[in-house]
């Protein structure tokens, strides 16, 4: 019997699924008592080098409202050539192509090791990928130059047949026509054109789109419908002069990018440059919407500052009014916040409907309005990259990595994903949290209780990467008085249709099953099947999802209550005796995750700008479990002469003078040299031949850091600091403040470094937790 650890690992490797519980309680009541919902993290396009896609259509259940895909869990009558759907129990004949099927000649999808299988299907003409650059020109020359180079470089990374377009903006928006010979043409729009106040109404949006298309000359006169129906893609392709194959316009575009000038309009003293990001994006979205709906496309926004005019404006152009802070937002002082957010949300939804994703590359020292714009990426599966300048390796390498290729030499991006979930009768799906939008597909397996984006069994994920991970929440709907037969299994099927970067249409089907367990009799088994890492991430996603709409303290209180309830449920203790409290191994780390989660920037806004919070949250809700865990509880490695590098507690006690620490918070990579080490380094011992070992010690964390830097997307901020260095704050703010200026007993002790904070330490947190868990009144 394998341990749960192994089981979980194996399942994750094969299916990209991590469930909070690996045994499912068999009734609704019991499920709710488990506190952590039945849920899973699902990575739809988890890289499976060992999984060759099959070149045929999946076999679907013939029941109209089921349409589940044939999978290893189905019962098959090889003689009758009939299979029974494991979700609806419909008996289906195999299609003619399966005539040769037998027990020894099974198609791949029936084999247990192919619980995840990928089909390549023929659906319509292949459409090229589209990359639409939306470039801010209100940049410093140095920044613009770096950006120009990055963009020019990126042209060589694009697939040659990909369509590429360029929109530049500043005070005005220019849509560049790429095909023309001779004169370089562009269409110019002003950035202040306000839509009607009812702009959110769909009709008006359509009208705007129609208007825009007419302005761009995309509509053939007489062809347009009353609301400007988009042209059929091939028509559009012919008439669209703004999106052209890279191979055709490579030179032209390189020149165009090379001639890209800073926004020429003078910026008076005390003003911000006028930046029409809102309209630029709406034009980009409208352009794609009109020409290539439902085609894989990335709108890539490169901006060097906040939108300062027109719809979607985040801050006025007066420098004396600073951009909103959390303080302003709490005081309801952020003038443009609501309007801008609403504007970008509408825009994001339009893009999502058409399957286009929007990336935001924001490089500026100050905030750039990510808070308002985040939904553009959050809803469309786009990237958000935040840096200080386009002239940093952080941006340059991150951007390069967008176009990185996998083991097959194909881009690690997929488009237009639609995830559909089918469940056994006892389960219903409550919702999803991740870079997706609901497709509002009501089916029999849709729960009425929403968690995250619910009310549907289909979600659109406009852009997917191999690490894109959704949190999916389920509800056990089986009533307590309708017991499931022993050995019964609940099953979930994930059907992900998407456009592969090589233009193929693919369907990946993952079918998982877990045993049902009676919570009353088998609670220990259920406890043992608890995947605390997955649970922590799943709960964290719920928390972050709530934090978007609720006040911070409320979310924390909710998280605390869940934790206390979980401890009450599974902890072993004597009533009112905190010291007797024990948690089993499968839950032992969970409180610690919660402790760090409470302190994380995903839930704490102190010390973070609204933009940073949005940035952190964005990445938190789309990364896979490992990365998410690093975000919740950063990893700390210690390097010393006393032994090989070792992970150490994320605790102030780990900060010792003779250690080098490497902390990975996902977003930052901090190398911290302890006091002694740093003195040695200053004395340049590493340059002396006799201290070669010291040199090696110094080098070790650098090498490890390099390894992380190589693979991480987005590139983390790399920080090399030392004891007393100002940048050491990145480390100090993360570690558990077990020693502070308050607990005096620690003073003078050699171990660790006191942190000047009033935050509670893990110890205090745990003490309280125990007290509350065991309290009879709680």
């Amino acid at each position: 019997m394998t341990t749960y650890q192994e089981f979980i690992q194996q399942n994750e490797d094969r299916d990209g699924v991590r469930c909070s519980w690996n045994l499912w309680p068999s009734s609704r009541l019991e499920a709710t008592r488990l506190v952590v919902p039945v849920s899973c993290l699902f990575t739809p396009l988890k890289e499976r080098p060992d999984l060759p896609p099959v070149h045929y259509e999946p076999v679907l259940c013939s029941r109209a409202n089921c349409k589940a895909v044939l999978n290893p869990l189905c019962q098959v009558d090889f003689r009758a050539k009939i299979w029974a759907c494991n979700f609806c129990f419909q008996r289906n004949p195999f299609p003619p192509s399966y005539a040769g099927i037998s027990e020894v000649n099974q198609p791949a999808e029936l084999m247990p090791q192919f619980s995840t299988i990928e089909y390549i299907v023929q659906r319509g003409p292949p459409t090229p990928l589209i990359f639409l650059y939306v470039v801010d020109t209100c940049l410093e020359e140095e920044d613009l130059q770096a950006l120009r180079e990055s963009l020019q470089m990126s042209l060589s990374l694009l697939p040659p047949n990909a369509l590429v377009g360029l929109i530049t903006f500043g005070r005005m928006i220019q849509v560049h026509e790429l095909s023309c010979e001779g004169i370089a043409k562009s269409y110019v729009f002003r950035g202040t054109k306000e839509l009607t106040p009812k702009q959110i109404q769909w009709d008006n949006v359509k009208r705007f789109v129609a208007c825009l298309q007419e302005m761009l000359g995309l509509m053939k006169p007489g062809v347009s419908g009353p609301h400007g129906q988009p042209l059929a893609p091939h028509d559009a392709a012919a008439s669209c002069r703004f999106l052209q194959p890279v191979q055709k316009v490579d030179m032209n575009l390189t020149d165009l990018l090379g001639e890209l000038q800073r926004d020429p309009w003078p910026v008076p003293q005390g003003k911000r440059p006028l930046r029409s990001t809102g309209i630029a994006l709406s034009i980009a979205v409208g352009l794609l919407e009109g020409t290539f709906p439902n085609t894989g496309a990335r709108v890539m926004l490169f901006t060097g500052g906040p939108p300062t005019q027109g719809p979607g404006m985040v801050v006025g152009d007066e420098l004396k009014t600073p951009i909103r802070s959390w303080h302003d937002i709490q005081k309801d002082n952020a003038r443009h916040l609501k309007k801008a957010t609403k504007y970008y949300e509408a825009l994001a939804n339009r893009a999502a409907v058409n399957g286009h994703s929007i990336d935001i590359y924001a490089c500026a020292l100050d905030q750039t309005g990510l808070l308002e714009m985040k939904c553009l990426s959050n809803l469309t599966g786009g990237h958000i990259v935040m840096g200080d300048s386009f002239n940093t390796s952080l941006f340059k390498q991150t951007f390069q990595r967008v176009f990185s290729k996998d083991y097959n030499g194909e881009f690690r991006m997929a488009f237009g994903g639609i995830l559909e979930i089918k469940t056994s009768r006892e389960l219903k799906v409550s919702g999803a949290i991740g870079p997706c939008v609901s497709l509002n597909s009501k089916g029999s397996c849709v729960s009425e209780n929403e968690l995250g984006v619910g009310g549907t069994c289909q979600w659109k994920i406009c852009s997917l990467s191999p690490s894109t991970t959704l949190a999916l929440y389920f509800e056990v709907v089986n009533q307590h008085n309708a017991p499931i037969p022993q050995g019964g299994r609940g099953a979930i099927q994930f059907v992900t249709q998407y456009q592969h970067s090589n233009m193929q249409k693919r369907i990946r089907v993952t079918t998982i099953a877990r045993n049902w367990a009676d919570a009353q009799s088998q609670i220990q088994h259920i406890e043992a099947s608890f995947d605390q890492e997955a649970a922590a991430v799943l709960m964290a996603r719920l928390g972050v999802f709530r934090a978007e709409s609720e006040e911070g303290p409320d979310v924390l209180r909710w998280l605390d209550r869940q934790l206390i309830r979980l401890c009450q449920k599974f902890g072993q203790f004597n009533k009112d005796d905190p010291s007797s409290f024990r948690l089993s191994e499968s839950l032992s780390l969970y409180p610690q995750f919660m402790f760090h989660l409470r302190r994380s920037p995903f839930l704490q806004v102190f010390n973070n700008s609204p933009d940073e919070s949005s940035y952190y949250r964005h990445h938190f809700v789309c990364q896979d479990l490992t990365q998410s865990l690093i975000m919740i509880q950063p990893i700390l490695y210690s390097y010393s002469f006393y032994g090989p590098p070792e992970p150490v507690l994320l605790d102030s006690s780990s900060i010792l003078p003779d250690r080098i620490l490497l902390m990975d918070t996902f977003f930052q990579l901090v190398i911290y040299h302890g006091e002694t080490i740093s003195q040695w380094r200053k004395a340049r011992y590493q340059d002396m031949a006799e201290y070669e070992n010291f040199k090696q010690l110094l080098q070790a964390p650098l090498d490890d850091a390099q390894e992380i830097l190589q693979t991480r997307f987005p590139m983390p901020r790399y920080i090399d600091t030392e004891h007393g260095g100002s940048q050491a704050r990145f480390l100090l703010s993360k570690v558990n403040p077990s020693q502070t200026h308050n607990n005096l007993y620690a003073w003078g002790q050699e171990s660790g470094a006191p942190i000047l904070t009033d935050d509670v330490s893990l110890q205090v947190f745990m003490d309280h937790l125990k007290k509350l868990a065991v309290s009879s009144s709680a």
């Binding site: 220019q174 001779g182 729009f189 002003r190 003078p266």
Partner: protein, 1035 residues
């Protein structure tokens, strides 16, 4: 001023030699006195106090009885007394002038000779006498003055000579000139009527009278141009009854027997008057040192020496002697106005304007009225203070400006400082005179080309682009500057706009399309407006590509207001002033602000609502005008319409921003291409000032009240002009506030603040001093018909926006009659009511007025296109006197009989069909077109010489140019045409018309003495009508 004046008051004449201007300016105006007796019969003797001589001359005229003898007497006496007053006249002038006799000779020969013809006429018509120019004395003294004034002292010696020469000639004159035709008619003596005309100076009356019947006959046939209530019967009836001698109305006007027919030669002839003035004053140096002197006609070639008053090229007044009181002004109804062409070009032989720099302190100005330092400022108190000539305020002289006075009370540096000695000069303006206290940037020219289907198809776009490549090398530049500072920019448009980035650094021009026409904006800043020199390669590249880029367009809708908006925004962004050249084809019907619809409803013609046809659509265009003016953005519109384009609205912005409108209906490159190109060239090259503000200040007692021109007025005093070029004139009307003093006269200072083509802020100041008189006769004497008609045209064209056209016409006729009646009543010597007496200076006024009434704008005919009417109306609004004169009385030059050997342009003949002959060829020019009219029976050799084809039949119908052939006739013809076009500020279109051809209609419209094609009286009929009106007024 007459010489009598000098004689009577020697001190002044002494002052003259020193420098003309000064003494006159401040001196008491004695001259008035001797005019007085004509003007005011009531006090005939009051002025006589001045001296015996004058009394003798003038007194009698005021006295009713025994005119004949007295007049004779007076004339003799006058002659005797002041023989030297009459300047010598060139011998050849005499014959030409005879009908209206020039002052000098008259006394001798006109008496005996002129009388009989006049009598004959009077008899013949037996009802009414025209042409009795009562104030002959006026003319006589005056004309000598003007010619003599420049060199008062040199005059005396030649005078006797002149006399001697003239006397013998005298007798021959009548037969030579006007008399012969008259002689044909049976003489009927009506001596009393004639005699008054024959007063000493009266020669002019030669015009002679004619019978009123002629008028009435013609009148009923006029299609009601004078309004319905003037029924033919009334015309024909009462006069016929009143004058027994009237011939029966039944006879056809033209067909009638010669005796009964009024001889057209007998009525005042404009060509004659023009020629007389040319003879008398042509080629002379006109020195502006005297107050209130009347300059030569605009048609006369003369040069000007500025000696304290602005050249008539800059300012020309309707009268140079203002009435002293508003009552008098009201009584005579002669408009007091001046036509200011502030940037008029100065001929090469005249000194260009001096530029005065007063340093950082800026120009010196009166503290109270802000008038600029000028010759009218009187320095007192040893030069420490000066009294403003306009408001009389006494100001301290700034320390740095102090200068001692000489014994005459003049500053010692008077002749070193243009602002103290000249009528016109410029100041360099300081930052206080600049927008936002920032020195202006050099202006920009933006070429905005409509590239819709029509313009592409017609080949216009290519034509423009090709032309611009060379034309841009000739942008106007500051005198002496290396290259032009003007920047250029390019826009093309149909229903969207395309801007071009032509920065010199670019290898290729870049096109930026703006399709958001609802809220126009300029998509680029850097690279849109560039120096042509620097960006030549890119611009030529662009101009090369534009025609191709749109060659397959099928977009026929256009926008218009957004185009102007774009231009203004571009200038705003570049913080400069400038000019938009818009080449537009069609009614802007595309969905955009300023969208226009066809509102051409000819049913409105001759109704109360006719005025709406000429009113611009309100709204966006009004707003644009304001923006343009604020930014100093002038709009020049080149229209190439194939149908109605609502010109009234489209031209609204140009008409208020100092712009010009050109219209080429049904444009064809082969036919109209050259004309358009020469218009474009002139328009681009002409000198111009931007962002201008004009202020007209006057001395106390009167003020400027109304302004007409391509201007914008935000308040009642500041004339704002986005730009003003060398052709734009502003007509300013003055009204009395108070009484004017004869001593001080009326002073006018026009100050124009503008940005020069190199981007310098300048102040141009024109000063003019006019005489004032309490005698109406002085006023009539110094009237300027050409200026008057300019004023009337502009005020009528202005009024027609507010009143029905019919009413405007009536008012014009009424005022004409009133002015003449007032003269008759107050200034002319008594005569029979039937006699039409015109003031000498206004004797051709009726023909101009009649011509004005027949212009497309005023004629009220549904046959004329509304756009053409609006176009005509607008084109007149900014005209100077020169242009309006020739427009209202075109020149008709016979070219079939020209003397190939001579250099001179053959003399013009009267603008009437009667002057044409089947066997002749004529040129007609009105400043806008040159017609070459070829008679049906035109001898083949002429045709051969002109066109190199054997006969008229071989000529194509749509010829627009004359071949240049190597023969005397052709060369001569070309030299004439060349001479004509050089005189004109705008280019003229060449049209070749064959008699009886379809195109002859167009030509005939310009024969202004004839009955109008679309209604309107013939000259003669009009005179009759006016005469009747006058008589009604007098009774």
């Amino acid at each position: 001023m007459s010489q009598q004046g000098y004689v009577a008051t020697p001190p002044y004449s002494q002052a003259q030699p020193g420098m003309g201007g000064y003494p006159t300016g401040f001196g008491a105006p004695p001259p008035q006195s001797h005019y007085g007796h004509y003007g005011a019969p009531a006090q005939p003797f009051a002025p006589q106090a001045a001296g015996m001589l004058k009394t003798a001359a003038s007194g009698p005229s005021g006295m009713p009885p025994s005119p004949v003898s007295v007049q004779h007497g007076s004339s003799i006496q006058q002659n005797g007394a002041h023989p030297q007053k009459y300047p010598p006249l060139p011998a050849d002038s005499a014959p030409a002038m005879s009908p209206y006799g020039q002052p000098p000779q008259r006394p001798y020969h006109s008496m005996p000779q002129a009388t009989p013809p006049t009598q004959q006429i009077t008899n013949q018509m037996s009802a009414m006498n025209i042409g009795g120019y009562a104030p002959n004395p006026i003319q006589s003294p005056q004309s000598p003055t003007s010619s003599a004034a420049p060199q008062p002292f040199q005059m005396s010696p030649p005078t006797p000579m002149g006399h001697a020469a003239l006397s013998p000639q005298g007798p021959q004159l009548p037969p030579l000139s006007a008399c012969p035709p008259m002689a044909a008619s049976p003489p009927v003596g009506v001596p009393p009527m004639v005699m008054p005309n024959c007063q000493p100076g009266s020669p002019l009356m030669g015009g002679g009278g004619f019978q009123p019947q002629a008028g009435p006959q013609g009148f009923p046939q006029q299609p009601g141009s004078y309004g319905g209530q003037v029924p033919g019967s009334q015309m024909a009836g009462p006069p016929a009854g009143a004058f027994p001698g009237a011939f029966p109305g039944g006879a056809a006007q033209m067909a009638g027997p010669p005796q009964k027919k009024l001889d057209p030669d007998s009525i005042p002839s404009t060509t004659q008057v023009i020629e007389d003035d040319q003879v008398k004053r042509g080629g002379q140096l006109y020195t502006t040192n005297l107050r209130g002197q009347v300059p030569p006609f605009v048609t006369t070639s003369f040069s000007v020496q500025d000696q304290g008053n602005a050249s008539p090229r800059f300012m020309r007044c309707t009268t140079y002697s203002f009435p002293c009181t508003s009552d008098l002004a009201k009584q005579c109804q002669v408009p007091l106005a001046t036509i200011i062409k502030p940037l008029a070009s100065v001929p090469k032989n005249e000194t260009p304007l001096y530029i005065v720099n007063h340093g950082e302190a800026g120009p010196i100005r009166c503290n109270r009225c802000k008038a600029y330092m000028c010759p009218f400022m009187l320095f007192i108190d040893g030069g420490r203070r000066y009294q403003c000539g306009f408001c009389n305020c006494v100001n301290e002289v700034p320390v740095q400006y102090f200068q001692h006075l000489d014994h005459m009370g003049r500053r010692l540096d008077m002749y070193e400082r243009p602002e103290l000695s000249l009528g016109s000069y410029e100041f360099t303006a300081t930052l206080d005179y600049c927008k936002n206290n920032k020195p202006p940037n050099p202006p920009a020219y933006i070429f905005m080309i409509d590239v819709s289907y029509n313009n592409i198809k017609s080949g216009l776009v290519k034509l423009i682009c090709d032309e611009l490549k060379t034309l841009l090398d000739q942008l106007p530049k500051e005198e002496g500057a290396e290259g032009s500072a003007i920047k250029v920019g390019f826009v093309t448009y149909n229903k969207i706009l395309h801007f071009y980035n032509v920065k010199s650094a670019l290898a290729q021009p870049q096109m930026m399309v703006v399709s958001d026409v609802a809220e126009m904006f300029v998509p680029l800043l850097d690279g849109f407006l560039v120096n042509f020199e620097e960006s030549r390669a890119v611009i030529n590249n662009l101009l090369e590509q534009i025609p191709d880029m749109f060659s397959d367009t099928n977009e026929s809708e256009t926008v218009f207001a957004p185009v102007i908006q774009a231009g203004v925004e571009a200038l705003k962004a570049a913080e400069c002033s400038g000019k938009l050249f818009i080449f537009h084809s069609s009614l802007p019907m595309a969905e955009a602000p300023g969208k226009l619809k066809n509102r051409d409803d000819r049913k409105l013609v001759n109704t109360e609502k006719e005025k709406t046809l000429f009113q611009a659509q309100r709204g966006i265009y009004e707003q644009l005008t304001k923006e343009c003016v604020n930014q100093g953005c002038c709009v020049d519109l080149f229209l190439f319409p194939n149908q109605y384009v609502d010109l009234a609205t489209m031209a609204d912005v140009p008409a208020h921003t100092g712009g010009s409108v050109y219209k080429y209906s049904n444009f064809q490159v082969q036919v109209d291409g050259q004309h358009f190109l020469s218009d474009l060239r002139q328009d681009v090259k002409k000198s111009i000032g931007f962002d201008a503000m004009m202020r007209v200040r006057t001395s106390t007692g009167f003020r400027a009240t109304d302004f007409y021109g391509a201007i914008y007025m935000n308040n009642t005093t500041d004339v704002e002009m986005a730009a003003v070029d060398c052709e734009k004139a502003v007509t300013v009307e003055f009204k009395h506030d108070d009484t004017l003093s004869e001593d001080v006269g009326a002073l006018i200072q026009c100050a124009l603040l503008y940005t020069s083509i190199s981007g310098q802020r300048r102040l141009r100041v024109h000063n003019l001093s006019l005489a004032c008189s309490s005698q109406l006769s002085d006023l009539y004497k110094s009237c300027e018909t050409d200026a008057l008609i300019n004023f009337f045209a502009k005020s009528a064209y202005h009024a027609m926006l507010a009143q029905p056209v019919k009413v405007v016409r009536e008012i014009l006729v009424k005022q004409t009659a009133h002015m003449l009646a007032c003269y008759r009543k107050n200034c002319a010597s008594p005569s029979a009511a039937s006699q039409l007496i015109l003031p000498d200076a206004m004797k051709v006024f009726p023909v101009y007025m009649n011509s004005l009434l027949k212009t497309p704008a005023l004629v009220g005919s549904a046959e004329l296109s509304t756009d053409d009417r609006a176009f005509h109306r607008l084109s007149v609004m900014a005209m100077g006197v020169e242009e309006s004169q020739v427009l209202f009385y075109p020149r008709l030059i016979p070219v079939h009989s020209m003397d190939v050997a001579s250099e001179a342009v053959p003399s013009a003949v009267r603008c009437s069909e009667e002057r044409l002959s089947d066997t002749g060829a004529f040129l007609l020019e009105n400043g806008q077109c040159i017609f070459l009219w070829l008679g049906q029976a035109c001898p083949p050799d002429i045709i051969q010489n002109f066109f190199n084809v054997p006969s008229l039949a071989h000529l194509g119908t749509d010829m627009s140019s004359l071949p240049e052939l190597d023969n005397g006739h052709s060369k001569k013809l070309h030299s004439i045409i060349c001479a004509i076009s050089q005189q004109r500020s705008s280019s003229t279109k060449m049209v070749i018309v064959k008699q009886k051809d379809r195109s002859e209609m167009l030509f005939r419209q310009h024969l202004v003495e004839d009955k109008g094609l679309y209604g309107g009286a013939s000259y003669m009929d009009f005179l009759c009508y006016v005469h009747r009106e006058i008589r009604q007024l007098l009774t």
